[in-house]
């Protein structure tokens, strides 16, 4: 699953080592603090005392280098997509993307807007979608639990897909950006 080699191959069987890794990574998902869209409005209630996502081991983190989880909260404007890709590439593997709300699924309310990309998974791999405008905190928590289950069962493999199809993802990204070096 990951590139981390087994430190004690003689003691820990290879299968168990993967299990340990998955268990550890699902229990400490750190979420990057990036309000990409209006869905960020439901994040404060989820983070704070009423719903309190910290009990699942999820806390907001300021820098992408220390984050495992990118929440794309809502519609993605072209200008934001560039920053999302940047942040996503700065995050360390394994990393997971949850797309939040109806807009990154198919454009949602902004299906005819000239400045929002319609499907997020054409540009970066998405592990989980939460539908709704906007999703309730309960839905967000449910998504977190589902993501944990997916990680445990090895199904959250977006970061591997991004490595494998990097050229295709980059080609799609460059179709909406004029330049990258800004």
């Amino acid at each position: 699953m990951t590139d981390n080699p087994n430190p004690l191959p003689s003691i820990i069987p290879e299968k168990d080592w993967k299990k340990i890794q998955r268990m550890l990574s699902k229990r400490s998902l750190w979420m990057i603090h990036f309000c990409t869209g209006c869905g960020a409005m439901e994040m404060p209630p989820t983070m704070t005392s009423r719903y309190d996502m910290e009990r699942f081991g999820i806390i907001p983190m300021a820098t992408p280098r220390q984050a495992d989880l990118l929440l794309v909260t809502g519609y993605v404007a072209v200008k934001t997509l560039k920053r999302i890709v940047r942040v996503y590439e700065q995050m360390q593997d394994p990393k997971y993307v949850i797309s939040f709300g109806s807009c990154p699924i198919n454009g949602g309310l902004y299906w005819d807007s000239y400045n929002t990309i319609k499907r997020l998974d054409k540009y970066i791999p998405v592990d989980l979608y939460i539908a709704g405008c906007m999703p309730r905190p309960e839905a967000i928590m449910d998504a977190f639990l589902k993501l944990m289950k997916d990680i445990d069962e090895g199904r959250a493999d977006g970061w591997l897909r991004y490595r494998k199809y990097y050229d295709k993802y980059r080609a799609n990204q460059m179709r909406v950006f004029k330049r990258w070096d800004e």
Partner: protein
């Protein structure tokens, strides 16, 4: 010393949402700041020209996310002006309930954002937890937590549900009892006294000219409030005060006004006034229909003309200029958001001279909401 550059945002805890401040600093002092927006541009004004008059009601709450109801109210008022409709009294009162609840939730968010920026992380935990009681009220009233789509041209969508006013009264009592705790936690806190006064000062004589509105203008010492100067909904019948510098009541007047301290204290006092307004509404709300009898929603004939309606949001003056050419869709809608001036013009002007550490609190104290800058 050599100048260097810092980017506050778009991915940054010190930015008020998805926007970016490009800051040049010399040592610890900000020399120059430039605001970059556009990360949330969804082309609302273009989309509104493609949707019918009633479909737009579902679209516009997304313009200002922390406080969506001001959009619906001002759009509805502008359309009513064009249609020459007088809405029923009860609808006006219900609108005022929704707008005041939205103001309360906007202020709670603004205060918790500011407290987070100066490092008092308990404040957001409590205030946002309490804000959920307001969201529960919204849910009972409108069916949605964040976007309500409740106010529309001609009135409101439906009447108050049974027992809503009783529950509203209970939530107000609870919120009032919590205010004391907020004071102990933030407004009487040494950290707040040390960090807020005389930081991020807007020159008083320039405030109006720079387009500052709302609590930020009242913190400069002008008792101007759209609810008073251009009354709408049920506000002409209601009795409330306009807290402004230096009339802070039980709070000490620290600093010389126009600063972060006054801006936050004004917001804190406005919570009290909103509770007072809501209690009056509970007592005074008249019976009657909650909406006009509306024509066929698909074929509204809105007479050609110009109309402007403004409401007071928790951030400042929110206005809609609606232009109709007599067609089935609006010809042009221009949204005047309060953050447009606060976030770009005012922030760029008051930033030079700030510490790096005071930059984010100043941005939060202006309560800049990026989606209403770029729409």
């Amino acid at each position: 010393m050599k100048e260097f550059e810092i980017f506050v945002g778009p991915q940054h805890v010190g930015a008020t949402g998805n926007m970016m401040y490009h800051v040049w600093v010399d040592g610890d002092t900000v020399v120059k700041a430039e605001t970059h927006v556009g990360y949330l541009h969804r082309a609302f004004e273009k989309l509104m020209e493609r949707r019918s008059w009633l479909m737009n009601v579902a679209l516009i709450p997304r313009i200002c996310v922390p406080e969506p109801d001001v959009n619906e109210a001002s759009y509805a008022m502008a359309v009513e002006s064009l249609m020459n409709w007088d809405i029923p009294e009860r609808a006006k009162y219900i609108r005022s309930i929704v707008l005041e609840l939205a103001r309360l939730s906007g202020h709670l968010l603004a205060i918790s954002g500011y407290a987070g920026a100066i490092g008092l992380y308990t404040v957001p935990q409590w205030l946002i937890g309490d804000r959920d009681y307001l969201l529960d009220l919204f849910e009972q009233l409108t069916g949605g937590r964040v976007y309500h789509i409740f106010i529309f041209p001609g009135g409101v969508r439906w009447d108050l549900p049974d027992g809503f006013l009783r529950k509203l009264g209970k939530v107000l009592d609870y919120l009032e009892s919590r205010l004391k705790l907020y004071d102990d936690l933030l407004f009487q806190n040494k950290v707040f006294f040390e960090r807020a006064p005389d930081v991020g000062v807007i020159p008083k004589d320039k405030a109006i000219e720079w387009g500052v509105t709302g609590p930020n203008l009242r913190a400069c010492g002008y008792a101007y409030d759209v609810r008073r100067v251009d009354p709408y909904a049920a506000y002409p019948d209601l009795d409330f005060e306009i807290p402004h510098y230096p009339k802070f009541g039980e709070f000490e007047v620290l600093g010389h006004g126009c600063d972060c301290y006054s801006r936050m204290v004004v917001r804190r006092l406005e919570i009290e006034q909103s509770i007072r307004i809501l209690r009056q509404i509970i007592k005074k709300i008249p019976d009657g229909p909650h909406t006009l009898k509306l024509p066929n929603p698909i074929a509204w004939k809105v007479p050609a003309g110009y109309a402007y309606a403004r409401v007071e949001s928790s951030k400042g003056e929110f206005g809609y200029l609606v232009i109709s050419d007599g067609g089935k869709v609006p010809y042009r809608v221009h949204v005047r958001g309060p953050s447009y001036t606060h976030g770009i013009n005012v922030m760029e002007k008051i930033a030079p001279g700030l510490n790096i550490a005071d930059f984010a609190p100043t941005a939060f104290s202006l309560d800049v909401c990026p989606p209403d800058i770029e729409r």
